[in-house]
Symmetry: C2
Subunit: 701 residues, 2 copies
């Protein structure tokens, strides 16, 4: 026994971060040869998209994979972008030094966060092929591009450089390239097709980055092209300061120790988001520290008290200090129409519904959940639904089972929404695909490979709520389909079978064909509507027709209302029936009289849309008698509309811990009035918009 | 646009490893309050077990969790071990410096590998409570224990020290503690019960560490005690050198650049396992580099050629250079009986089967898969089977869905083995639990939290093979159960119902009760055996009785054979029928004559076992007529026995890439002869043991 402790201790030594990741390269996503290639492409493309977004450039990215040595599984990847480029002296650090980058301390939504990604690729290439990575980059303010071969000194976590120089960078057409970066890397890897492939990663990337132009040349020389769907760049995100609700004690201690602020007052105002001058005063009082105290003297229990004031455990006037919600201009959701566009383009289906929740907060970090569901079409009915996971616009391709977003889907009992699900748990089965996107200033992954989200109660809850809401939309759609099928059956009976029977009977009896309308009216005793929404190839518009039949013996009067994608910028054309705007995205027509046996039609076209953007029109009515095929306008539906209208002008965060609800979000100084609800024919009281759901977009609202 | 590239670049900076992990603490397993506590306990207990194992001490570990402030979720953890202790000057580095440790570069099986674990705990405590971690440690060669409060300077990745000193460390009984370490840490965390809890982690740990004594005092003051099941320490593991098959080019380049060896000959012999003097010569020739070349001159293409020779791409005399398999004394599997003991103690069941595969190699790293399956008892039949995952004797509690070991289970079509499984994929359903243990010199986890294994084709294949093998055992068990149930039915007919009918009929007819044995013989026309294996509380032995009935009209002669746990050290007692050893673990009795209608019994007891160790005896027979309730002794069964006997003396690694099969493993210089197979009554040819399976232990072999 003697000396064993010393002997064991004597073997211990410090390991460099690069050695650590070289040994644990699977943490970074380099576990199998197929995945290693996807990881490399992903890191390069993510960097390109981030850089373009920051520089407000519409990205055009070209990815080429070639087999260098098929026997030894050596593959070359070239990724070229039109981003802002990297200044010559920064190249070596960006590509050759782990944990170096601009996004680690910034609190805002970005794809890269850790400063590991592309350096990990350089490291993997060096480890598996012994080769350096060739980088070429040009910035707009310099006439030539810089190039250099980058390697990694893993013992020191420093780049090695070779063959550096400058050259004129020509585009394919011979013109000079303005700005951009090109990475050429050779690695041990395997190109594969299928569900987990470079192709699939790029396809998914194009769904959530509709502003990007992506060109991919595969090892067979085949060119795949995902075109730009929108010219609109994602909303610009701003870095925010940490919010007091997300601060841990250790972090606060360090912030205070490193502070250069004059005193506590300045410290509180300069370093946090959500702290107004009023809140600053109240925090000092709650923590029982004068605001004029020099920072050097704020120590020990002071810091603890300050944190308790932050967390509402120390009170001001008997109440927790009210803080502003963190600003949400640090987030950039994809937004419904673009998700819908991406989904519809990619998967053929009958029903699409998307939903963007309002931003929420976890540990002081704003985040936002977006979901999409497509149903029907050619998708297999007996297989688990396809799950498309995204975080900050990056597709997650691996570790589906261990991901929080999957767990959110699994936590819902989908049987009540019309999907198969053994025991009401787990991934449901059916002809559907579910998309989930988390936008966050601090996406918590389970590892550096960024393939699965770690557990977090608030994010889980938001994801679950979004699923429930979307599930209700699906159920409604399926119920409506059923109802429409029944109505159609009745129509067939009335319009085809009854007259045929009458005709046949008259022939046999050699009597005249009887007038049926009276009998039909007796049988049906209802007003029926039928709606078609169809893409018109010639006019490039979406044609909508709402037909009403009065199969009752009395004159009827209705207001007919229809949903239309107004907020997506569509325009209503050829609407000869006139009518008026009822609310945002809802048009209304008054039908003063519909005679017994009469048929009336409302027709119009929608311009400014693309094929697949709008496939179903929801028809509603106001009036005393039911209309089969339409929904009675009720309070709930109105609430929904009002909520949508209001949210167009608002983007505050609902923070569960935050009780300062009268405070305005900092980046939205003016709050518009809630649009007035048209009073005509509505009896429902005006109701404040409930928290949570932002808008529900789809054919089936 | 001008200047945007420079502006973006100017924000970039280097992040320290501790800052990185502080921000990404969820990578280390600190994602929720409940999991954070489990992670902290896990890191402390893993360290204790590793240290004890290295110092060859039977571990006694005491874990206490107390609530410090229930409202603020502050919890105190105290973990005390009887390990070798840590010398005073090493304490700060072990606890306060990330990536510092002894196990990172060592190639052998150990729980800790990365030098992150316990420092991560110190970091988490500091971040969430602002408090330091108190460490007390005593080594055997010093009279007093050292104590110190450790914190972490995350900007510098250095420990901070406070209140250091020395004291006499008293045990609870007042005696002086000889050696050991005690960690007291306060953190924001939540104590929970259930499937993912500290209690469950410790229970699972005790299954795979039967040599450890574990005492746990929960926050309610309740004491849980998992006693030591064996006094035998796990096999001592030795560090090995890297094997040429596991070297990547980048690694070889660095090894050569940093080499102090005289020349290539010395380099090859000194730095690798598996390279004999013959192989050294052949490698040099295949790589076309003289062995006398100075290391400084081995560069560029030389290194590439050398690697190609390693990988068999450059040939010697037209063939790849044969290398020795890596030694396997770097691994320490749990072994079947101990797994079985652990499982039986923990879960009540009817059937237990365990299996340890022979070691295999992936990327030059030896590894070994062990599996266990328990079936029946009180477990729910309509739920997914419980999966118990372990890596290097550490339970894996999270990320089950994303773990390679789970995937290995899911890859098997369990329906053919008698379990429910939708579509033949996914986790099967049934009253069963499946245990999988990977022992490896380099366990590839998906993240630093060490909760799920990353994809690896070889490990997957081994795991899958083990599952298939075990599945076959389960099917056999279920088939046997069915057969036994049928036999029992027949018995009831003969012994109860027929005589009752005869008696009743005789009464009604007022005739004498007829002699039935002739009729029964005619009906059955079979020899039947019935076997019971029961734990005898009084004698603390396992009583076995095999009863034979001859229900035929002729005299029968058999050799009856029964399995018994000989290699686990059991002894056969009170075996009055005598017999002789047939093979290891198989006893044989000659029954010279069994008269028509005769009943004979073979009875004996097994000592040296504990309750649950042996619950089913497999009975076989040799003879011309079938015995219902026993299995005919056949070639396959004999093979199995011979294989077991041989493997008792052998432990080489089967490397798929390795063609040097005539080479001996380096740590097993002597190979014993295969035990001779008893010739009597066997006609099967002696067959060499097939690769792969090592032994199949269980009641049902």
């Amino acid at each position: 026994m003697t000396g064993i402790a010393q002997k064991l201790a004597s073997n211990q030594k410090q390991v460099a971060i690069s050695e650590f990741f070289e040994k644990n390269k699977h943490f970074l996503g380099f576990d199998s040869l197929a995945r290693s290639l996807i990881t490399a492409v992903k890191e390069a493309v993510d960097n390109a998209l981030d850089a373009c977004e920051e520089a407000r450039i519409l990205p055009t990215i070209r990815i080429q994979i070639t087999k260098v040595d098929a026997q030894k599984d050596i593959v070359r990847m070239v990724v070229e972008d039109n981003g802002p480029g990297i200044p010559q002296k920064s190249i070596e650090k960006v590509f050759g030094q782990l944990l170096f980058g601009s996004r680690f301390h910034a609190i805002r939504q970005s794809r890269g966060q850790q400063g590991i990604g592309i350096t990990g690729v350089v490291m993997y290439c060096q480890l598996t092929t012994g080769r350096t990575t060739h980088v070429r980059s040009k910035i707009a303010t310099e006439p030539t591009a810089a190039f250099v071969d980058i390697g990694l000194d893993t013992r020191k976590n420093k780049a090695t450089k070779a063959n550096a120089g400058r050259e004129i960078w020509y585009n394919e057409d011979g013109s000079g390239k303005e700005h951009g970066t090109e990475v050429t890397a050779e690695m041990k890897a395997k190109y594969q097709k299928g569900r987990q492939s470079v192709w699939q990663y790029l396809r998914m990337t194009s769904i959530v980055n509709p502003h990007a132009e992506i060109i991919f040349i595969d090892p067979d020389g085949e060119k795949h092209h995902w075109t730009r769907v929108t010219e609109r760049l994602p909303t610009k995100v701003e870095s925010i300061k940490p919010h007091p609700h997300g601060i841990e004690l250790g972090q606060l201690q360090r912030m205070i120790a490193e502070s250069n602020d004059l005193n506590l007052n300045h410290f509180l105002l300069n370093n946090f988001s959500g702290v107004t001058n009023r809140a600053r005063k109240e925090l000092c009082e709650a923590a029982d520290i004068p605001g004029t105290r020099k920072m050097k003297t704020v120590k020990g229990d002071d810091i603890r008290h300050l944190l308790e004031a932050f967390q509402g455990e120390r009170l001001f006037n008997g109440l927790p200090v009210k803080l502003l919600k963190p600003p949400t201009n640090c987030l950039s959701p994809i937004e419904e129409l673009l998700i819908k566009k991406g989904l519809s383009k990619t998967i053929d289906s009958r029903f699409v519904s998307t939903l963007t929740r309002v931003p929420s907060v976890t540990q002081g970090n704003p985040f936002q959940i977006e979901v999409g569901l497509i149903f029907g079409g050619d998708m297999a009915a007996d297989k688990p639904v396809e799950i498309l996971r995204f975080a900050n616009r990056v597709p997650l391709m691996y570790q589906q089972g261990g991901c929080l977003l999957t767990k959110a889907i699994e936590s819902v009992d989908w049987r009540q929404y019309g999907l198969d699900q053994a025991g009401g748990r787990g991934v449901p089965k059916g002809p559907a695909a579910v998309l989930v996107h988390l936008a966050s200033t601090n996406v918590q992954f389970t590892s550096e490979a960024k393939e699965a989200l770690a557990d977090n109660a608030e994010v889980m809850e938001e994801g679950r709520k979004a699923m429930l809401e979307m599930g209700r939309g699906l159920r409604k759609h399926l119920e409506k389909k059923k109802k429409m099928a029944k109505t159609k059956e009745k129509f067939e009976l009335i319009n085809d079978i009854l007259p045929a029977i009458a005709k046949k009977s008259a022939e046999i009896l050699e009597r005249p064909v009887p007038e049926l309308s009276g009998s039909i009216t007796k049988i049906m005793s209802a007003v029926i509507s039928e709606t078609t929404t169809e893409w018109n190839k010639q006019t490039k518009q979406t044609d909508v027709e709402i037909v009403l039949f009065n199969y009752t013996s009395r004159v009827r009067a209705y207001t007919i209302l229809a949903t239309w994608p107004e907020k997506s910028g569509a325009k209503m054309e050829n609407n000869e029936t006139g009518g008026r705007k009822e609310a945002l995205g809802v048009w209304a027509w008054k039908l003063e009289s519909l005679q017994p046996g009469e048929r009336k039609s409302i027709a119009y076209s929608l311009s400014g849309l693309e094929r697949g953007d709008w496939t179903e029109t929801e028809v509603l009515f106001r009036g005393s008698q039911d209309v089969i095929g339409a929904t009675k306008m009720d309070e709930k539906f109105l609430q929904e509309i009002r909520r949508q209208e209001q949210i167009m002008d608002e983007s505050g965060v609902d923070s569960p811990e935050d009780e300062g609800e009268e405070d305005e979000p900092q980046n939205e100084p003016e709050k518009k009035e809630v649009a007035e609800v048209p009073a005509e024919e509505t009896v429902e009281p005006a109701i404040a918009p409930p928290e949570g759901q932002r808008t529900l977009f789809g054919g089936d609202v």
